[in-house]
Symmetry: C2
Subunit: 134 residues, 2 copies
């Protein structure tokens, strides 16, 4: 369904490799009925996307176990080349015990202020596309 | 509501200036009940975001007049600095007459293949945030 002309679909393995190699992604959630996108810095741990957040829209979506979208991409405007990978999965807040087991993730939020919640998204759907330039 | 610790909220004017200065953004739509994010290259014309797309999820969302999210951002990993701007608005497909009036937008899609639809999003909600680093 996500296939499109001029775009090469990526294998799931390649999508997950690209996902693991990046550090900035974008979370898509619904706020009321409205779509919203928030950039976060993240790490992949055990195949899941993890990022820190404070009290707010993102942590609320995770606390409620919402299904969220998460996208990473990389584009080269000069070469008209690029790719994007998207996962969809349920977001949840990691509890204290799991946090202890995970140890130090080296995951520092850039913005100052309290970022007490660690959110984890397990990819249920994975898709990726690479631009086949003109 | 979108305010968050460590993040400076941007004025609407600054958001729209940043939006007009970029060329790659991300569209957020709902596919069924699932959130999806697609990168596009775009231009701002008359204050509206315009991008080209083929038959698919993005054009279908526009043809149905869906409310979509659109986000642009820029981050500097070394300086731990960056900003993001998000707009929410109804997407619609530009008809042939409006297209003629608009003339050549210089808006070439990167991917080859048919990108016959011109989609226009009028910003109803505008918000932006700048990271205040540690």
């Amino acid at each position: 369904m996500l296939a499109d002309q001029g775009l090469e679909m990526l294998e799931e393995k390649e999508c997950l490799d690209l996902l693991a190699a990046q550090s900035i992604g974008r979370v898509a959630i619904s706020v009321g009925a409205l779509p919203a996108i928030f950039p976060v810095n993240y790490r992949v741990v055990g195949g899941d996307v993890m990022f820190r957040t404070g009290d707010g829209l993102k942590s609320r979506a995770a606390l409620e176990g919402n299904v969220v979208g998460f996208e990473v991409d990389d584009f080269d405007a000069e070469r008209l080349a690029g790719w994007s990978v998207m996962i969809v999965g349920q977001a949840r807040v990691v509890d204290d015990e799991e946090r202890r087991l995970l140890g130090n993730l080296g995951l520092s939020p850039w913005a100052r202020g309290d970022r007490g919640h660690l959110v984890r998204i397990h990819p249920e759907l994975v898709s990726g596309r690479r631009i086949v330039g003109p």
